[in-house]
């Protein structure tokens, strides 16, 4: 039997974020119809791109203007779409936005939800995620009429598959939230920095950066690499950088293509946040630092000497 799969597309400045394509690739399976759910964006604009990844239906959801950013209203709208089109599995990104949206949908539907997953077998309803501070991989059997999956950004390589998509309109303008109102939204649209969890390249600093000022060197380098800057807990606790930059157990969990660790020793808790990175390059003066034996490339040197050189050599790219 044909299964209807819903995919919540995350947009940034009106464009589809790259990480959606890996998620669509993961959701694609035999005998499925893929419904891309687009909230408050023009489906016509994103149609061609979605078609190139196998989407066959695009549900354009419109919400009342003052409710667009309200996660409760968004959740309600998506629940209506799920019911309207008999959707039995929903995929969304395990980003900051997804962490505030997907559990709301699951809770209201009393449906299963696995966040931050990196493999889904839709035939058997088996899903893989990490547990115990990233030390174990758990295979979870999800049960129920509707299953919801929060997909770890960058975990799946996008593969194209062409299709033709039909646009369906869903009017959610009457939906409201009485008990939760949005006073102000953190404006991601004006933020120049690439989100840590979605960056392809992360350059992170630890104790070896010595002070907050030296992190500007990392920022410069990140800019050249089109990446983001991260930090270890030591650097955050020392007050050199804000907590939002922390990678690790009690910070962000990231899987970039490349993770460059500068002056980071590599505690168990730090690894919990970055061990699924594609390539790890460690730069550390201390050759006995844990990270030096658990990386792909290591440099025995002071990161403060290497990174400025790296910036120079990235210069004209």
């Amino acid at each position: 039997m044909m299964k209807n799969i819903g995919i919540i597309i995350e947009l940034d400045k009106g464009r589809i974020k790259e990480t959606n394509f890996g998620m669509i690739t993961l959701a694609r399976a035999k005998d499925t119809e893929l419904f891309a759910v687009v909230v408050d964006a023009d489906a016509e604009i994103v149609k061609e791109e979605l078609e190139s990844f196998g989407i066959t239906k695009i549900v354009e959801v419109s919400l009342a203007e003052d409710q667009q950013k309200n996660p409760v209203v968004r959740a309600k709208a998506i629940i209506n779409v799920i019911k309207e089109y008999n959707i039995c599995a929903v995929f969304g990104l395990s980003t900051a936005m997804g962490k505030d949206l997907l559990p709301r949908i699951a809770a209201l539907l009393k449906a299963s939800l696995v966040m931050d997953c990196y493999a889904v077998d839709i035939k058997q309803n088996l899903v893989k995620t990490s547990q115990y501070s990233g030390k174990t991989s758990a295979t979870i059997k999800a049960a129920g009429d509707v299953l919801i999956f929060g997909v770890r950004p960058n975990a799946i390589e996008p593969v194209k598959a062409s299709s033709l998509a039909e646009i369906l309109k869903f009017d959610g303008t009457s939906l409201i939230s009485k008990d939760l109102k949005v006073i102000k939204t953190g404006d991601t649209d004006t933020s120049e920095n690439i989100s840590l969890v979605e960056a392809d390249v992360i350059i992170a600093g630890g104790r070896g950066m010595k002070n907050g000022e030296n992190f500007t060197i990392l920022s410069k380098c990140a800019k050249k690499l089109n990446g983001a800057v991260g930090a270890s807990r030591v650097a955050v606790d020392a007050g050199w950088v804000p907590y939002s930059m922390q990678v690790g157990q009690t910070g962000e969990k990231v899987s970039p293509l490349v993770y460059i660790a500068c002056g980071i020793s590599g505690s168990v808790q730090h690894f919990a946040g970055m061990k699924t990175s594609g390539m790890v390059i460690a730069i550390n003066k201390d050759e006995n630092a844990a990270i030096m034996s658990n990386c792909d490339y290591y440099v025995k040197a002071d990161a403060l000497e290497i990174i400025p050189e790296l910036i120079k050599h990235l210069g004209n790219d």
């Binding site: 900051a96 559990p103 009393k110 174990t136 009429d145 939760l180 009690t250």
Partner: protein, 255 residues
Amino acid sequence: MQIYVCVKHVPDSAANITIVEKNHIDENLTFLLNPYDEHAVTEAVRIKDSLPDAEIIVVCLGKDDAQKTLRSALAMGADRGVLIESNKNHDSIETAQALKTVIEQDGNPGLIFTGRESIDAEGMQTMFRIGALLDFPVATNVVKLDIEAGRAVVDSALSGGIANTYEMSLPCVIGAGRGLNTPRYPTFPDVVKSKKKSIKKIVFSDLKIESLAAGMNIVELEPLLQEREPKEIKGDAGEVAKKIVRILKEEAKVI
């Protein structure tokens, strides 16, 4: 006002995890109060400082050993504890049902706290399920909380140091994030005092939780190893930089 704080007894993040019986871990290791829940307890105590009539009740679903985690929360300033005893591991659907049932039986919540996630199961959803069952609004990863004129104004953190500000009616559910406060670690007198505080025990099976079609069962646990074979990049700073650029370009293909 009664403030309920839902806490979890979790393995120390630095502990080595050994998998037994395919889908369990060897629990012969150090367990402690989930780090995010420390922020939840601390925030409840901070609110109580300005509302002296408030009572803080910590609730935990876990094995008998989880009393230690309740004691930690009591030492941090909570008034009393409730242990929902169960020898099984429960998914967040059952956990939320149990917590909701016990909170409703126990009192009249004005605020409910959880941590934004537990560091063992990393499910990130129990707070939303409690909220949905009680029809209370919910915010997670809360890094700033103000209670004023019968409402809660919260900053719910996104990535990159930015946050959404939500206003919620009370009662509401708050998933505490790390930026919310600096946990108050108990002094020796706090610990002594906490020993006199009560912990009520309730058996999970007595709650008669409704069994739902939905559920998340762990069928297998495997060590998550990332086998890497470190290769040294040698040379002076300039040579190293050149080699890194080449690796980024040719091998990682990110530039």
